[in-house]
């Protein structure tokens, strides 16, 4: 058996049938339902042997195929039940395959449109808009949906991505201890009377070098008695101004 194709290559049983018909070089209009059923069954068995999970939909269609096949064996007259003519099951299958094929084919073009659109980017709405939007009226119900949140989060992430490389590549090049002392002195004004070492590391963005430089700078500031420090029982380093 030469079914080297994986089942996840197919998006459903109809897709698999189209593949099998094509592989047998049969026409979609007069394929042999026996051959198709056997091939289909063999394919499912192969998957089972490989212990791949087969979704129930494949089994449902297999049952349908077998049913078609068995009905074919019955004499024609018996398919007329209660005076109602039942459409030839193969005709129905052909109709389904044809219709499915149409949508399958068109996805190629749609996928292409989608790709082209992905190459184009929009500008985020300007922040100045916030001034013009009517003042938040907290009584107004919010008519949001989850996608609004994704879009907003997407913008946040994109912005972060944009600002990160500058931080790391350009501005965060080796800062000297002396420069760091100046930076810290400037920040001290905005800090509480006592604060922790972690507070001082907030602008380090996990840059180890900068953290070490900060530590050296703090040691110097303590030496100059601009800061005093103590360590609490949780081993947190606390600083107090001058």
């Amino acid at each position: 058996m030469s079914f080297r194709v994986q089942i996840d290559q197919f998006v459903g049983p109809l897709d698999l049938m189209l593949h099998l018909i094509r592989e047998q070089q049969m026409s979609i209009f007069d394929f042999d339902i026996d051959v198709l059923t056997d091939q289909y069954l063999a394919y499912i068995n192969e998957m089972e042997d490989l212990q791949l999970e087969i979704e129930s939909e494949y089994l449902v269609e297999l049952a349908t195929l077998i049913e078609y096949k068995s009905k074919k064996l019955l004499p024609k007259e018996e398919t007329i039940l209660d005076g109602e003519y039942e459409a030839d099951p193969k005709e129905r299958l052909i109709q389904r395959l044809l219709e499915y094929q149409q949508y399958k084919e068109i996805t190629e073009q749609l996928s292409d449109f989608y790709h082209q659109r992905n190459l184009q980017m929009a500008k985020p709405i300007s922040m100045e808009v916030d001034h013009w939007i009517k003042k938040d009226d907290s009584t107004l119900p919010i008519d949001g949906n989850a996608y609004d949140l994704v879009k907003a989060m997407y913008k946040v992430l994109r912005r972060m991505k944009l600002s990160k490389p500058i931080e790391t590549k350009f501005t965060q090049k080796e800062i000297s201890v002396d420069d760091r002392i100046l930076q810290l002195k400037a920040r001290l004004k905005d800090l509480d009377e006592t604060f922790t070492f972690e507070t001082l590391l907030e602008d380090c963005n996990e840059n180890l070098h900068l953290a070490i430089v900060t530590f050296l700078a703090v040691l110097d500031l303590s030496r100059l008695q601009i800061l005093t420090f103590f360590v609490d029982s949780n081993e947190t380093i606390w600083f107090k101004r001058g």
Binding site: I28, Y100, I106
Partner: protein, 207 residues
């Protein structure tokens, strides 16, 4: 807002001018095209609808349409890095695709989100057959698509459009404006024609 606008007639064939008399005793004249460009710039990916814009500029829809088509034509030129598009009736500026490689470098990502084959098939069926129920989609695809429909809904590509009269009153699905934007369509009429496989002759499926 205390500025006065000049009312235009119905026929607008070339750039018009707007008189803005602002509180600040400024009195300038700016072409309507330029002002609309400015608005399009400000709203960014939100885009503008023709009605909205016509109301703000106090011109007729027809007049507004002409402004937009002039702008669309203008921005097609190579010298502009972005173009004016109309997807689903929403006008917006989008960067041209030749900017993309540089943008990828800037954002340090080469990724463009792709849609899976299942997602595309489901979308195609909804787009061509809307309004359509889940069961009808499943019949066409031969696969259950409960999860897929929810994912597409979460992604705002499809939406519920009321309920069918069929037993159980199932939801009917249709595509959204976001879908139109994602697939570069002005309206559903622009969807490519479905291939016709109804006769043996057209069947070059087996190449």
């Amino acid at each position: 807002m205390e500025y006065k606008e000049y009312k235009y007639g119905i026929e607008v064939t070339r750039p018009l001018h707007i008189n803005t008399v602002k509180k600040v005793e400024r009195k300038d004249e700016y072409p309507i095209d330029t002002i609309v460009e400015g608005l399009l710039f400000i709203v960014g990916d939100e885009g503008l609808k023709i009605e909205q814009c016509a109301a703000v500029m106090d011109v007729t829809l027809k007049g507004m349409e002409e402004v937009f088509s002039r702008l669309m034509f203008k921005y097609q030129k190579e010298e502009y890095a972005f173009e004016l598009v109309n997807y689903g009736g929403n006008y917006k500026f989008l960067s041209k695709s030749y900017i993309h490689p540089f943008a990828s470098k800037l954002f340090q990502t080469t990724k463009t989100n792709a849609l899976s084959q299942s997602a595309l098939e489901t979308l195609a069926i909804v787009a061509y057959r809307q309004p359509i129920t889940r069961v009808e989609i499943e019949e066409l695809r031969g696969v259950g698509c409960d999860m897929m429909l929810r994912k597409l809904q979460a992604r705002n590509l499809i939406q519920e459009m009321g309920r069918s009269d069929a037993p159980g009153k199932p939801f009917l699905y249709g595509v959204t404006e976001e879908f139109m934007d994602s697939f570069k369509l002005i309206s559903l009429d622009e969807l490519p024609e479905l291939p016709d496989f109804s006769s043996d002759e057209n069947e070059n499926l087996f190449e």
